[in-house]
Each structure stands twice: as structure tokens, then as C-alpha cells.
Symmetry: C2
Subunit: 300 residues, 2 copies
């Protein structure tokens, strides 16, 4: 039986299966097919998923931050090159109608000990040109569902990779705002900040759970790995808080290495910096709420 | 009145005032005189001390991890070049008879955004050659008082800077051991681990207090800064736990920059890695104590 695979609708970074290029595919049953690249990276990522998915020392509440792995399968590649081995993963946005998504690459470097000089030079140039060195993370891409326009708004890749500190901060505010998407003149209102970033099921509380694990885990070093943030903004507007379905997933494990008894201080440092940025958005939107509340009080 | 200044007895890293070279001096009243270097570094360090010592937003329990600053003073330089401006600091080992000391440079890089290419290249070469990149810290130097020999044991600088992961781990075990100093064939016994690293006043608990501050502070980025660990091992042997006088101090602020609203993820990541190493030493020595206790029980 031939599976009906298609190009994912909601990818915001990485190789994209378009115009006859090789990239990931999805089916209608919530599975994501990621081609094993020709070089060692694909093999390394599959090896990581094999190791991680069967690792009993990783607690269940941590396993849920990673896409479920269903092994590898030969499927028709998106570039028409015939059947190629693909990793079969959970499609983390399956079940969302109009997910807003952001991909944030964590760490203050994307290179690591023992890489080739060529790879080192390529990485460090990009790390210095983006916020990787200065912030310990860089936004790789995002898209936001604009419920007024009933369409997605997404900034150009070139613009995103050109962010400095203020650009990254603004993107994290914009990501949870209902206004000012295409319009850069008005300030993001952070209307969804408390529903998406805050609360006991929100992004911040998930990031803090990950942080606690990274403070002690010495199994893996997650070089060049991303945090994916997903939520459904339409459902917040329609049904209220419990439906934001805010979710954090770790993705991209082509450069994961054994930890060898050392914590992943590169990922952890960047994660702590990212957490501080999310907290800052939450705090400023809390203050805004209070100001609004005061305004209402005073207007009585 | 001419002050009687002398070369510090207990310096384990940095420029040393010996053989007519420029370096720090101490007096008999617990003060440490650090010459302002000719280039911007000295000025930058003095500027940091001025800013930090008067910063009321830094909590008191954090101020105590930094040497007290008494301003600058013109004193006779150690290299015979006449009077030079010196920062007047607290001599953190004043009052100790025979302090064991370790200097650990924190961070997975010693360079930072906007440095010259020359400085960047010099730093990254050393960061990759030492454990700075792999561990997020490197041991810069240490000395241990050997109470059997009544003298200090210290490894050569070249040896210390050549440590890999295992070397750094061994140094942190050796630092709190009463055996195997010059003898590399027997394993360090970690006899002082629980007195020095453990307990409510020990190194670990001080490091955790610093970590909590670094998770939120966005005032300063402590590039190329060191943690100094000091304790008095003789007094443990003579008087017991409360006299280890284990102390953590941050030193070397020539490359501190404004945080500009971003946490120091480089220092924090390295600090978390260092904390994990200290915890590992403590845990292995706890296990050893239990084994010993079992041995005694069984021998009854």
C-alpha cells in the first residue's frame, strides 16, 4: 500500500520539501517522516532516537518533551530520488488547527569539541552573527496565526537570523500578541502571554521542568538542538485558557553526543537565558494587566 | 609613611610579583594591592569594583562573595617602576595560617562579543586546548597544604592547564584529600570532602547561593572571571568541621561587561557544570563513608 505523504504545513525552520528538494513529509495519522541525510548526521539522529526512546533512566515527564519515535522506514523521498530511509516520528503539530510555532536553537555555540576546522569555522561565524553567542539562543523561525486575517504571518528567514537582542525580545512578545503582526509601528500587546507562557501547563513551567533535568543529566549533549514552542491561539479566543495547548518539544538531534558524565552546560546556560526572556515577557504583561485593572478601578 | 608591602604567599594564578615583575602585593593588615595594568583592563576592573561595591540592588549575601574594595592608591610597584595606581582590595586569605586554594576560571568561553579578532583567536585557542569548552570551566591553579610534610603541594601550571575532563575531576578530589598529593599512584581519599564541600557553610551551599543569583541577575557579564576556593585543612584535623572556613570568592574582573538585561548564561552554564562536579565528589565520598560504616558494623 502506498502511503499518502505530503509536505508539512507547519514547518518553520530546517530543510523544507519544496520545489523538488529533500525534506520531511507527514501523513494523515500524526506521523512525521524525516529523511536520513546522506552524511553521518541522519545516522546520528536515528541513533539518538533509538538510544533515548529506550532509555529507562530518563523520567517519563522528560520523555514527553521529545517527539515519539517509531523507528525508520523506507518511503518515497520528496525529491523524487526514490525510496529512502526516513525516521518515523510523532508529528508534534498534528491535531492543531492553526498552530502558532516558534523554533529556537538553544546554546551559546552550535559547534562542539572535535569537529572539523571547516565545520567549526562555519558554525562560529553564524553563532557570532546571530544572538547565539550574546543570548545563548537564537530564533530560527516562527509563524503566528493571525485570527483577524485568518492566515499565518511569518517573518522572512533573513530577518529572523538578523535579530539582535532587542529583535529576539520583540519576537517573543509578538509570538503571544493578537495585534501588530504585519504592522511594525504598534507595540505587541502580549494578549496571550499569560495563557501561553504562564500557568501551570504553560511554556514557562515546561521549560523549568526541562531545566531541572538539565542540571543533573549527563547522558547527552544536545548540540545545535532546538526548542519548538507551539500553541493554538484561536482556541484561546474561543474557549479560554485551558485550550491554548501550549507545548514545548525538543527537536533536531543530528549533533547530539554522549555526555560522558558532564552536564550539557552549553544547552543549560542558553535555556536559563531563554527562560529569563520568557519571564520578562510575562512580568511586563502582568504589569500591564495591573495597570489596566487600576484604570478600571479609577474609572468607577 | 612607607607601607611595608610584600609579595602574596598564597597566589595560585595570574600575574605574580616575582623576579622584578609587576604583580599584586599585600600588607599585614589584610589588604591586597592589585596594580592597574597599563591597558584598558585595569581601568575596567577598577570601574567594575566602583560600580559593584556601591550597587544597592545586589543583595548583601551576594556582596560577601566578592573581595571588599577600598578604592585605588598610589603605591610602589613590585617591578621597581616607581609609584603606580593599585586597587586596594580585601586580601581574602588573610587570617588563614595554611590555606589550601584553588582558582577555577568559569565559563565555556573567555572571549565575548565585540573583542578584536586577535583577542578572540588567542582566547578560543586556549579555551579549546583546556577544559573551558568541554566543561564550562578550567582549573587555573591550586595548592594544598600537606600537613604530613608541613608544606604546600602544588602542581605545575603546565600540568594544570593540560587537564582533560578526568584531570579536572581528579584535581577536585585531590583538593579535599589528605593523602596522595605528590604520589599519583594512590587514589585521593577525599577525607575533607564533607567538611569543605558539604554542610550548610560549605563550598557547595555557597555555589548554590551564587547560582540562584546568576539565574536572574542581568547587571554584569563576568567574562574570564574566576572562582577562588579556600579552606584551612589543618584546622579541620585539629578542631573539627566548624573550622574548615571553606570560602568561595569571585575574583578577576578585568573583562566584566554590562549585562544589558541579559543573564550571564556563559558564567551560569559553567557554574552549573562546576556544581555538578563538586556534587559528584561529595556523593562518592558519602558512599565511601557508608561503605566504611558497613565495614565497621560487619566487623563487630
Amino acid at each position: 500500500m502506498v502511503k499518502m505523504l505530503k509536505v508539512p504545513e507547519h514547518q518553520v525552520a530546517g530543510h523544507i520539501a519544496r520545489d523538488g528538494k529533500l525534506g520531511p513529509l507527514v501523513d494523515d495519522e500524526g506521523r512525521f517522516f524525516k529523511p536520513l541525510q546522506g552524511d553521518a548526521r541522519g545516522e546520528n539522529e536515528a541513533k539518538f532516537y533509538e538510544s533515548f526512546s529506550s532509555n529507562k533512566t530518563v523520567p517519563d515527564h522528560i520523555h514527553r518533551y521529545f517527539p515519539v519515535y517509531h523507528g525508520t522506514e523506507l518511503v518515497e523521498a520528496s525529491d523524487g530520488s526514490g525510496k529512502l530511509p526516513h525516521m518515523v516520528l510523532e508529528d508534534v503539530v498534528s491535531g492543531y488547527s492553526n498552530p502558532s510555532i516558534m523554533d529556537v536553537k538553544i546554546g551559546s555555540r552550535t559547534w562542539y569539541p572535535d569537529v572539523s576546522e571547516e565545520y567549526f569555522k562555519k558554525c562560529i561565524k553564524k553563532d557570532r552573527a546571530t544572538t547565539t553567542v550574546s543570548l545563548g539562543f537564537r530564533v530560527s523561525g516562527f509563524k503566528i496565526f493571525d485570527h483577524q486575517e485568518s492566515s499565518f504571518w511569518r517573518p522572512e528567514k533573513k530577518v529572523v537570523l538578523g535579530y539582535k537582542v532587542d529583535g529576539a525580545r520583540l519576537a517573543l512578545r509578538k509570538f503571544v500578541s493578537s495585534n501588530s503582526l504585519a504592522d511594525s509601528s504598534s507595540a505587541p500587546n502580549c494578549a496571550f502571554a499569560s495563557d501561553v507562557y504562564g500557568g501551570s501547563n504553560g511554556i514557562l513551567s515546561q521549560l523549568l521542568e526541562l531545566k531541572a533535568w538539565f542540571e543533573t543529566q549527563t547522558l547527552y549533549h544536545f548540540n545545535s538542538c532546538s526548542i519548538l514552542m507551539v500553541y493554538e491561539d484561536e482556541s484561546i479566543l474561543m474557549k479560554g485558557k485551558e485550550d491554548a495547548r501550549a507545548q514545548v518539544k525538543l527537536v533536531d538531534f543530528a549533533h547530539v553526543l554522549d555526555g560522558n558524565g558532564v552536564i550539557d552546560h552549553n544547552f543549560l546556560g542558553g535555556l536559563c537565558s531563554f527562560i529569563k526572556f520568557i519571564k520578562d515577557v510575562l512580568e511586563s504583561s502582568d504589569n500591564r494587566d495591573e495597570t489596566d485593572a487600576c484604570g478600571i478601578e479609577n474609572g468607577k
